[in-house]
Amino acid sequence: MQRIGVFVCHCGTNIAATVDVKKVVEMALAEPGVVHAEDYQYMCSEVGQEKIQNAIREKNLGGVVVCSCSPRMHETTFRNAAQKAGLNPYMVEIANIREHCSWIHKDVKEATEKAVILMRAAVAKVNLNTPLKAGESRVTKRALVIGGGIAGIQTALDIAEAGYPVDIVEKTPSIGGRMSQLDKTFPTLDCSSCILTPKMVDASAHPNITLYTYSEVEKVSGFVGDFTVDIRKKARSVDMSKCTGCGVCQEKCPSKKIPSEFNRGLSNRTAIYTPFAQAIPNVPVIDRENCIKFKTGKCGVCSKVCQAGAIDYNQKDEIITEKYGAIVVATGFDMIKLDKYDEYAYSQSKDVITSLELERIMNAAGPTSGHLERLSDGKAPKEIVFIQCVGSRCADDRGKSYCSKICCMYTAKHAMLIRDKYPDVNVTVFYIDVRTPGKNFDEFYRRAVEEYGVNYIKGQVGKVIPQPNGKLLVQGADLIDNKQILKEADMVVLAAAIEPNPDVRKIATMLTASIDTNNFLTEAHAKLRPVESPTAGIFLSGVCQGPKDIPETVSQAGAAAVKAIGLLAKDKLLTNPCTAHSDELLSNGCSQCAHVCPYGAITYEERQVNDHGIREVRRIAVVNDALCQGCGACTVTCPSGAMDLQGFSNRQIQAEVDAICL
């Protein structure tokens, strides 16, 4: 039996208001093995930690139970405190009486009873704890950034500047991401390419950065500090070392009718293409699905016109295997599909467009060379209606429950730019709320209203009806004047909700990173660890974590870089000592455990054992501590009960069950 100390935290009134902490202390002292129990206002404070340390020294405690907040919050704090007082840190257990008790129950009697039971379970467990020692693993000093948009570029630049090599894996043929598609950026109206292109050039020229464009992450194994990643470099069909980027192949390519992804399908591209003029690298790819040469075997025009001899129809996908210490996810976003919102006639009229399509139309390099015109007849619109929150803040499951955050601001920007360039165009915005928190954001929106005379109407649009004369009839409501509105528009722009890149779920699964129901990656702590995934060594940058504008994305990208640098700067990491352990007297070498182990951590060896006087050589399971991550799959599958998990042993968990069911 251990000599156990129980420490009950008030957490101010967070716990003490609902749980009678004195009663918990009193009940703790009645538990067998408990030689010390006390309560204090804030156990995590310096004074609180000292109380624990003094008790360990004075009462010679062998086990400590802290009844406080979630172990996900302060387990490490209390373990470190115990270690400073000479107790093995793994002799500390937490009874979660805040998140799992005081915060969800109102009745003091009921909550106190539950807190006592949780305390008993922790005491029963700690009684069976054994001192554990963390091992060490090495750190590969190289980072991987998945996604080459502004988030990925900024993270990579920051890590590279700190002196560590970084690889960027980008799915499309060029880095740049969504930001490269934008025309101007709020709230300063800088030209997007003007501020992005230098960063793209910096990233491609930086000696510490390697770009893998037109590439995808195929497989991830390993763990923090030592990930092994397979990157599929898709066949470009163009030799990057020979191509000069002259562009003749694109001019001559006869297959010219492929919708351009970069221009959101508003213009066409050729089968051999670079997505946009400032693409980095400026090396085209052949879209094999649409290339005549690949479809019919005849053509080969690009190869004939290429003076550098860079075209290589026989190029194959290449798998690059590299080791990384840290991985940053920066997979960004896309706009939702609008098929569930057909009341806005997006599929029925070419003049109903999304904001991102408007962005391309207003861009000088876009499908209309920057002229604002209707896509149906090329005429200049006189009346434009913007509809906000299309699929955002949606109560039903047609759309997204969250606010996409950027739409209010970019719509104010669009409205302002249109009124500035075409003062005779009327602009109306239908909105639910205008949300402008951010530096200089509200001032920006007010300029749109006050200086540029944009007509904001609070209310939602019910229906957009294409008219025989080519106009669009917008039926909406004005909630302030409480009246129906019918408006004829030449163009309707939908602020469609943004959603994480659809590929992110696949990537999250490979990385074993948590992801929420909206496909946003979950952070380790919503407030205190916003750029880290709960999975160690995985960091989050940009919209993959939640909706963000460019300034926020860049700050978060820097924060993710700092966290990655902090990891790469270490030579060694302490590993989790809660690993599986095989009892050599019970193991019969049946291999069941090795079959279920996701990490290949279990091997077998012939070992001389002494089983109660019988000496013989047996085949027994051996766990490699460096590979074992401590899931415990093997412990349940083991028919002889030889496998057990340190820190969560069969006896420990049963003791908890017993204490709860008492």
Binding site: S70, P71, R72, N96, R98, E99, H100, C101, W103, I104, H105, K106, D107, E110, A111, E113, K114, I117, L118, A121, R505, A508, T509, T512, S514, I515, D516, T517, T522, P534, T535, C578, V596, P598, Q629, G630, C631, G632, A633, T635, V636, T637, L645, F648, N650, I653, Q654, E656, V657, D658, I660, C661, L662
Partner: protein
């Protein structure tokens, strides 16, 4: 803490929660103040695949009225495949328990992610209601364990 006939029936419910998703989901339910009955007591395990059917049998033997196992959603397991093992094991165990008289309603597997505090809370409320309607577990309880 024995249950007397006159008192309202307060079931004993053990919830096994995996450390990465469901335990965090329970924490989120707590910090969001999403109440559920105090009858539920949570045991933290690294992964749902750590839960040995023996623990569940033990719980029923010791007088638990219901056992719920929560893990990451299929495909999202921190250890890649642990919840698939748990799902198979529990399917088998629960059908055996049902056969010997511990109704299927007393056992449940639920996937709760770290972001699903609401789901955790509603699941627990539903489960407790179900157990209350089923009444006390008498089939597997070892009467020697009663005090």
């Amino acid at each position: 803490m024995s249950i007397e006939a006159k008192e309202e029936f307060r079931p004993k419910i053990v919830a096994f929660c995996c450390n990465w998703c469901s335990y965090a989901g329970a924490d989120l339910a707590g910090s969001s103040r999403l109440a559920y009955p105090a009858d539920v007591k949570i045991i933290r395990v690294p992964c749902s695949c750590r839960v040995n059917p023996m623990f569940i049998l033990r719980a029923f033997e010791r007088g638990a009225d219901g056992v719920i196992l929560c893990g990451c959603h299929p495909g999202d397991c921190h250890y890649t495949s642990g919840n698939y093992y748990a799902r198979r094991r529990m399917t088998l165990l629960f059908s055996m328990l049902d056969f010997i008289g511990v109704e299927n309603g007393r056992t449940r597997v639920e996937w709760v992610s770290a972001a699903e505090g609401v789901k955790f809370s509603t699941t627990m409320r539903e489960f407790v209601d179900k157990i209350r309607s089923l009444g006390k577990n008498v089939r597997l309880e070892d009467l020697r364990c009663r005090n």
